[in-house]
Symmetry: C2
Subunit: 214 residues, 2 copies
DNA sequence: ATGGTGAGTAAGTAGTTACTCACCATGAAT
DNA sequence: ATTCATGGTGAGTAACTACTTACTCACCAT
């Protein structure tokens, strides 16, 4: 009766996916759904369907919906790259390059708003891992920049501002740009690159001492 | 049997609330719940209970949960105040006062994060009125500031930057401050007032021409 | 061949959701 | 005294929610 089914199965690619692959596929599927609709706005049924498996299997890998969400945040909270380039610019005291680097890492052509949406949702919905996520995605560079500004003030190159507040202000400009265009969907009147250049110039113009009197 | 009940009711304040009052009370109750938990994260049962009425009554005033949400956004999208003071500062070409006014309207002691959370949730959840809300809560001042910067550039008082981008940058700084402290709950290391002063100084330092050569 | 193991699912479960309906209560006008 | 619009509710309902149960199937080492 169902002989044909069994026979046909044998000459296709492995009909069973490994546990790790499935887990990863569920995580990435769920990530985009949670980013689009939030935690409560996404159902486990939707996730399972989008990942092409039964709902029951989802619960084999993740005991609760919450655990799946946690697994996403824990995985996505890794960044790498960038940091080296940033530290290079810091060593060289190349202000413009450092600020441009930091800004254009977040403002560029192919930036995927998923992470930003996930970050905002997790903060708004008060998820327990929101802090960790925030810490790893953001805090590192914030502290790095604040430290740099402090040193440049000591060098006499920057006006004597509050370094932490200044770093916050700069990231504010960048994050706001993404908020407006990636989340609110506002049209841009300048290219990504031109915006970055303008932001950096605007910001440095306020930091760099105009009339050195040393 | 229930005579006492009827008797006791007579000597209390009017046992029936007017339709308008009830509607308003439902709106404000719902607003804070939606702000705290998002649209899908809030149930009509919760709202009714918090407002002290039956769920059925809620649906007498608002045919759907969605309609209630819409009513909130429509109501809260009014601002008034501030605008006059802002236009006064614009007329006087008082840069510092204008920027301080705009910043401290949003960064101050008693600011209630409800509106900001509601705005973010509505944008993230893709609510249809999100645009309108955004427009009225934000766009007005954005355009006002961009226009002012343009004029000050023509006056020769500001460097020749992109006025729209500059306005965006400034609101970015302010919004980011609120995001970090009102939504993410980060501790502040400076008072509200001191932060505003620092932000304005930082920003103007980049706008005002340091060495006038006219 | 056989038995152990992990991938996979159909068909539930109890509880919750947005929303409805039939009905009662109040008070002011007739 | 009766009418009647309006404020108000208890008790639903169908659909959906996160999560479970009991089961099948494919693969592989013995």
């Amino acid at each position: 009766m169902n002989r044909t089914k069994i026979a046909s199965r044998q000459r296709h690619q492995p009909s069973r996916t490994s546990g790790h692959e499935r887990q990863a596929s569920l995580i990435s599927t769920a990530a985009s759904l949670f980013a689009a609709n939030g935690f409560t706005g996404t159902t486990t049924k939707q996730i399972a369907k989008a990942a092409g498996v039964s709902e029951a299997l989802l619960f084999k890998y993740f005991p609760t919906k919450h655990a799946l969400y946690t697994a996403i945040l824990a995985e996505k909270a890794q960044y790498s790259e960038l940091r080296e380039a940033v530290e290079e610019a810091i060593k060289k005291r190349d202000d413009e390059r450092l600020f441009t680097l930091l800004a254009s890492y977040r403002i560029r052509k192919g930036t995927d708003p998923t992470m930003l949406r996930l970050l905002l949702f997790s903060a708004l919905e008060g998820h327990e891992l929101s802090d960790m996520f925030f810490q790893q995605q953001y805090r590192v560079f914030h502290d790095l920049l604040a430290g740099y500004i402090r040193r440049r003030i000591e060098d006499g190159a920057f006006r004597s501002v509050d370094p932490v507040l200044a770093a916050k202000a700069f990231f504010g400009v960048v994050l706001h740009h993404r908020l407006l265009h990636d989340i609110f969907g506002l049209p841009m009147h300048l290219s990504h690159e031109a915006s970055v250049v303008e932001y950096v110039s605007l910001f440095l113009g306020g930091l760099v001492r105009q009339s050195p009197d040393s």
